[in-house]
């Protein structure tokens, strides 16, 4: 039983990371209808910034905030400079643009920061493992889950209680109508991308010190985050969180109990996506689009 709970905690810890990145994917999908394949690499770049700042002697918390702020600006600029010109192109063009961004960012970090593994990443909190009744609960897991909870609350407040959130929701539901009502759609889209980038940055700086910083650190995480978002529904923040946790827990429990899938647990999110898309193409929590004939 304690083993089951330990694996459950492992899964929830990873799931919180998938959920954070899935939330960023959902933020961008809701406002611009784009699947941002570069989301993971944007977070990777942010984490390299974080490493750069701490390497230059900045305190950890300051470095996190600075990386998030720069990521926000960077995300907004990416929307304005890279995405806006092709905004109304076919989905295929958008997919190709974000994949291009993915490859470009991955190469840029290696040129700019070097391709060696960065080992001296500080943590924002001391490493510790609690063992109540033989169940392992690491500080990593608690911090990741706590971060996810705080982010969810802040996003909820932003979208439901502020004017800017209202404007973003308006853009998400119909950019044409929003524009006619005087909402600065362009600025809202930039804000959405900036927010997603900052969110990815936070996930990156918290999780990467646990697995090591190198150019491909975010890639397998991105695969699981896409699985989470597809599972929960690309337009549902709640779905992203639930999907992330389901994928993380499924991954850990498969490793523990399904020895036949040894080493190919990637098949689990895969199977989940396929199953869900076949039964509910909009995802578990996604809204079905209704058409008036």
């Amino acid at each position: 039983m304690s083993l089951f709970l330990t694996q459950l905690m492992n899964g929830i810890g990873n799931g919180a990371v998938y959920a954070s990145l899935a939330l960023a994917l959902v933020l961008i999908f809701r406002t611009t209808g784009i699947l941002n394949f570069a989301q993971g690499e944007m977070a990777l770049y942010s984490t390299y910034l974080f490493w750069y700042f701490t390497d230059r002697g900045l305190p950890v918390v300051v470095a996190i905030l600075a990386a998030m702020a720069l990521s926000f600006i960077g995300g907004a600029l990416v929307e304005r400079v890279v995405i806006r010109p092709v905004e109304h192109s076919s989905p295929l063009v958008l997919v190709i643009v974000t994949i291009g961004l993915f490859l470009a960012l991955n190469s840029i970090v290696q040129v700019q920061f070097g391709s060696d593994i960065k080992t001296n990443l500080p943590r924002a909190y001391p490493k510790h493992t609690w063992r109540p009744g033989n169940v392992q609960i690491s500080a990593d897991t608690l911090v990741l889950v706590g971060m996810l909870a705080v982010v969810c609350v802040l996003l909820y407040l932003l979208f439901q209680r502020t004017k800017i959130g209202l404007a973003m929701r308006a853009v998400a539901s119909s950019s044409e109508s929003a524009r006619l009502s005087g909402v600065p759609v362009g600025q809202m889209l930039m804000f959405g991308w900036g927010l997603a980038a900052a969110l990815g940055a936070l996930a990156g700086v918290l999780v990467i010190p646990q697995i090591g910083l190198q150019a491909s650190s975010m890639q397998s995480i991105l695969v699981f985050s896409f699985a989470a978002a597809a599972l929960g529904g690309f337009d549902s923040p709640v779905g992203a969180v639930v999907g992330g946790l389901i994928v993380g827990v499924a991954e850990a429990l498969t490793t523990q109990y399904v020895h036949a899938l040894n080493g190919i647990v990637l098949i689990v999110p895969f199977g989940l996506i396929l199953g869900v898309l076949m039964v509910r193409p909009q995802g578990l929590f996604g809204r079905r689009t209704v058409e008036r004939v």
Partner: protein, 462 residues
């Protein structure tokens, strides 16, 4: 969210499209870790008879006899393919060591081929990035052979990567020399144009650890973590063969996706077996991550870790969890202050500082690159003639090589027609986390000629 959308049908189609795109992208990612394809070849099997002087490769079926492609004036152009980007980019450290050695030799006027002839050649090493993707290795190697016209392939990294190019190397008679992998397939008699480097062959690593356990804990239970590719499988398969007939018992084997390095769930599962011993058949970040997960679980087994992870940089990540970890090496540890006064070590540190100032000279991976380059130069200088067939035959028949690069004092490297492995003399080491370097355990092991006997035949000939 509002359900009525003016562009309802478009966005529904869009959603379906992107969902399809996601599935395709995931499929691509999942298939990225393709395993080396098995293959057959009919041409140019080694000549029968064996013996130290009989040629191992037969060039009669080659496209050109006495092929000197890649030798131009006083320059020999050689090529390598390795991960300079992606998850395995840390292996770029190998290239830094290699380039430092060749730059150093070139500055001395070059390598004399054959030794005593007075004719010196400079080495021009062309490196191509394959991100550890075997498909890219194939592209790189085709380009190196056909466009860059390299004389030989040198220290190309990865088990599945070299398996993927062996048909090319074999049919075109291009030496694939000093492969950066300890897999036993390099001893497959069907592919004489390949030879592994001085890395300790993986079966010898397992043999050494099994011997250690039989001596110190003969009834030990063993838990195994392996990378889910040809590399990790080499450890798992040979260990399984070696424990047969002993009281050692493998209680659980967990694989991890080599495209990632998160092994927490796997190690949690292994730790629950409370096995006495833990074998890590992984590489790079998976090694320290496995050690950290083991520490988190409060599990204290006797740990054996792949020799490919012997690096101060990697073990530093694991901190005190790396205390006492066992492994093997065929090289002097550049992080150990005991070696600081060794002239070979001083030369290595001075030259790497000069030619690759950004490299960490205390990193064992850089030291490996340096030593492999020195071994390549040694083989060239021993070759009676400078053509592909002669150099390949020389590589297969070196005997009693000592003092190359950072080769361990007291170790000798030999090959023969019946023994296709170099790194068979090595040192069992354990890691001292406080001091940040490894210490030798017992004397040097000399397993010369034993690799082929210890390897499961099915693996050797695969």
């Amino acid at each position: 969210m509002i359900a009525h959308r003016t562009e309802g049908s478009t966005s529904s189609r869009k959603l379906r499209f992107v969902a399809l795109g996601t599935v395709l992208a995931l499929a691509a990612a999942a298939c990225g870790s393709n395993r080396g394809t098995s293959s057959t070849t009919t041409s140019k099997t080694p000549s029968s008879g064996g013996g130290a002087t009989a040629p191992v490769v037969d060039t009669s079926g080659c496209p050109t006899a006495n092929d000197t492609t890649g030798v131009s004036g006083d320059t020999i152009t050689i090529g390598t393919s390795l991960p300079e980007s992606g998850l395995y980019a840390a292996f770029t450290a190998i290239l830094k060591g290699e380039k430092s050695y060749f730059s150093y030799m070139n500055a001395q006027g070059g390598i004399e081929v054959p030794a005593g002839s007075g004719k010196k050649y400079k080495i021009n090493l062309i490196a191509k990035d394959d991100a550890y993707d075997a498909a890219k290795t194939v592209t790189n190697v085709n380009s190196l052979i056909n466009d860059s016209k390299v004389f030989a392939l040198f220290n190309t990294v990865g088990t599945k990567n070299n398996l993927a190019i062996r048909d090319t190397s074999d049919t075109q008679c291009v030496p694939d020399l000093l492969i950066a992998s300890g897999a036993v397939q390099w001893g497959n008699p069907k592919f004489p144009w390949m030879l592994g480097s001085e890395l300790v062959p993986y079966p010898l690593e397992m043999q050494t650890f099994v011997d250690y356990l039989l001596k110190n804990k003969p009834n030990a239970t063993i838990a195994v973590l392996k990378a889910n590719d040809d590399f990790g499988q080499s450890y798992a398969d040979t260990l399984q063969a070696l424990v047969k007939g002993t009281n050692l018992k493998i209680v659980q084997t967990q694989g991890y996706d080599p495209e990632g390095s998160d092994v927490k769930a796997q190690v949690t599962s292994l730790a629950a077996t409370k096995a006495d011993a833990f074998v890590i058949g992984g590489t790079l970040l998976a090694c320290p991550n496995a050690l950290n997960a083991m520490g988190d679980a409060g599990w204290k087994p006797i740990v054996y870790m792949s020799g490919t992870c012997v690096s101060k940089v990697l073990l530093g990540i694991a901190g005190k969890n790396a205390q006492g970890v066992l492994s093997v090496t065929s090289l002097l540890d550049p992080a150990d202050p005991v070696n600081a006064s060794n002239p070979a070590m001083q030369l290595y540190k001075a030259q790497v500082k000069k030619y690759a100032p950004d490299a960490d000279t205390s990193d064992g991976i850089v030291a490996y690159g340096w030593t492999t380059a020195a071994l390549f130069a040694k083989i060239l200088s021993l070759s009676p003639k400078l053509d592909r067939g002669s150099v390949m035959n020389t590589a297969h028949t070196v005997s009693g090589v000592t003092g190359v690069g950072l080769q361990l004092a007291g170790s000798t490297w030999s090959t023969s027609a019946s023994d296709r492995f170099i790194g068979e003399t090595f040192q069992l080491i354990n890691y001292d986390a406080t001091a940040g370097h490894s210490n030798p355990v017992g004397p040097i092991t000399d397993d010369n000629g034993k690799t082929a006997k210890l390897s499961p035949a099915v693996l050797l000939n695969s």
